[in-house]
Each structure stands twice: as C-alpha cells, then as structure tokens.
Symmetry: C2
C-alpha cells in the first residue's frame, strides 16, 4: 500500500493541494517522478524553491518580477500616459501577449467580491490612485475580467478615477475571433450588436 511508504504518501498529499489535481492525478505524478532519474526530481524541486526565493512583486505596478521595479515599469519605450489595470499577473501577461498595448500596467491582485470578504482595501487601489496623482496618466484602460466581480471593480474604479480628469476605458465586448456565431452565448451577441461598428 502507498501508506507503507511515508515519503510517497507525503508527496501525493502535497501534489493534491494544487487546484485541479485530485488524488489520482497526484498519485500518477508521484509515480512518474519515481521513475525519473534523480537529476529530474532535483531540477523540479530546485525550480520550486528558486521561484519562491527570486520572484517578488514590483513595488510600483505589483506585477511579479525578479527585480524591483520590474522591466515593464523601467522600460523607457513605454507610454507613461496610458495605464492598464488588471486583476492578476496572468491577465497582464495575456494583454502583453496580444502586443496591442504599449503603456504601463497596474495589478490589483483580485477583484471586489464582498461575499468573499474582498473589499477595496484588499486590492492595490490606493497605490493606483497615488500613481495617478502626478497627472502624467491620461487614460486608464480597465482590463479586469468580464465576470460579475471584474465588472463591479471596473465600475468602482471608474467612479474613483473619472473625477481626477483621467479618461477611463474598458476592453471592447464582442464576438471572439474564429467563433461560430451559433455557439456564442446570447449575452455576448447582445453586447456585440450594441457595440456594432461601421465597415
């Protein structure tokens, strides 16, 4: 039994903590590691420790980085008048990957969710407002998720930022590229019709 091998039981328990990894998958992963040469397991363990040792949050934009301030905040080729606000570092990476935005970023680390006890004080909103004080930012693009929480956060930010004389924009709603209209949900089609453009 696995229980007679404590180190295996322990690794399976640790792997099963990952979201979306159940006990069966964790067992499969642990057995895979067992079959690998020791160098492979050491490389993985080293990479995990290294990540936690090296990665921190940028004190300006709160993106993850190995050097503070991060490369995005120090890049002289970026437009200081544009600021994109996202919920999580992964969202920033998604926007960057689109190569459509050359301004600066601000990572909130979450979205407003009163039911989960997440209020404005739990997000990096105060720091966002401080960044807007010097008047260099002319437009804030709010790229929070299109979920209830993300939308509420976008509205909340708009109410705080508009009085500062800064333009607040939102990513366009619409049909995703390559979609079959037939399979797009009706709310998205509704928004796409509302936001229709001249050809």
């Amino acid at each position: 039994m696995v229980d007679s091998i404590p180190s295996l039981t322990r690794l399976i328990a640790e792997l099963a903590k990952f979201p979306g990894i159940g006990r069966k998958t964790a067992t499969r992963l642990a057995f895979y590691l067992l079959r690998q040469p020791p160098g492979e397991a050491e490389a993985l363990a080293g990479a995990i420790l290294d990540l936690k040792a090296r990665v921190r949050f940028c004190s300006t934009c709160f993106h993850i980085t190995e050097h503070d301030p991060c490369a995005l905040c120090t890049d002289p080729g970026r437009d200081d008048s544009l600021l994109c606000v996202v919920e999580e570092p992964q969202d920033l990476i998604a926007v960057e990957r689109s190569r459509s935005f050359r301004g600066r970023y601000h990572v909130l680390h979450g979205a407003l969710s009163p039911l989960d006890g997440v209020g404005p004080e739990n997000l990096h909103i105060t720091e966002l407002l401080t960044r807007l004080k010097d008047g260099r930012v002319r437009e804030v693009l709010v790229a929070t998720n299109f979920s209830v929480e993300g939308e509420a956060t976008a509205l909340y930010l708009a109410q705080l930022i508009r009085p500062l004389g800064v333009r607040v924009t939102r990513l366009a709603y619409g049909i995703p590229l390559g979609s079959d209209l037939e399979y797009v949900d009706e709310a998205t089609v509704h928004r796409a019709v509302e936001g229709r453009r001249d050809l």
Copy 2:
C-alpha cells in the same frame, strides 16, 4: 511576459514535463505556487527530494519501499505459497487495495513489448524464476494488465513457470461491478459469457 521572469519560465518548463500536464496547466500550477506562503512551496520541494532520497526497490519483489526488504516481503502473516506477479508498483497497490490477496508479490517493472524494445531481459523475470526454485510457491497469479502486452507477458510467464510444477492462474475476465451491460465492450461481454458460473 513570463519570459522576463526566468525562475517562473524554468518552473513552468519543469512542471510541463509531467505526463498529461501541458504548458497551460503548468503555468496555472506555477502561479498557484507563487500565491502560496513560502512554507507550502518548501514542503512540496522537500517532499520531492525526500521521495527520491528514501524510496528504493525491494531487492526481493521489486516493489517500491523505504526499507529493503519491503514490509510485504517480511510480513509473517502472508502466504508464501502464493505469488502475485504485476507489471508496476501501482498494480500491486491496486491488488492490495482489493484486500483479496494475502500472498507475496513480484513486480516485473513493465510488460513484454518487442516494438518498444522491451524483451524478457528488461523485466525482473530471471529474479522471479529464482524465487520459484525453492519449491515453496505453489501458485503464481499473473495479474499483468489486460492489454496486448500484458496478455503476451502472461502467456510467456505461463510457459516458463508451468514446467516447474507451479500452478499459473490469471485474474478473471468479466463485467466490472456496477456496469451497465449496454455500455460494456463486446469483447468483455464475450469473455464474461465464456466464463459464466452457476448461481
């Protein structure tokens, strides 16, 4: 971008080596680890290193163990006249979990697969035959998988073991418990009819 954070890129690459874990899942897991307190990441890294440091193969049955010989080989309450042969340690664990077998085990570490270059010399077959020499084992239950390779291995072992005067048995084919007959594949139903028993 992730590429500007080398330690993150490296961990994602390491995690993506797991079977069934693609780049997207690896990225999700890495970001999850980033959000955890350092203690969590250290526990995972420690468990990985510990596993490789502690777990070895039993020199008798080749099951995984922290102590050689393993607990299954030294347990005085087990029947020395019964030996169950399996492909992998996971298979042994599956048989143990069924609480239906109280003999000893032998793990082959694979099945015959000429196309993949796995011949008898790559499995622990010589060691199996050596274990049968002292005449204590009266029955070998071949519990290799019900795949082409597992069946071929079972037949091969039967040819080697029967001449030694040892009974060779195979797990029963049949309908899995809780199945809807409608959805069981026809080859399994065929075998279940062949192997029908009196009620």
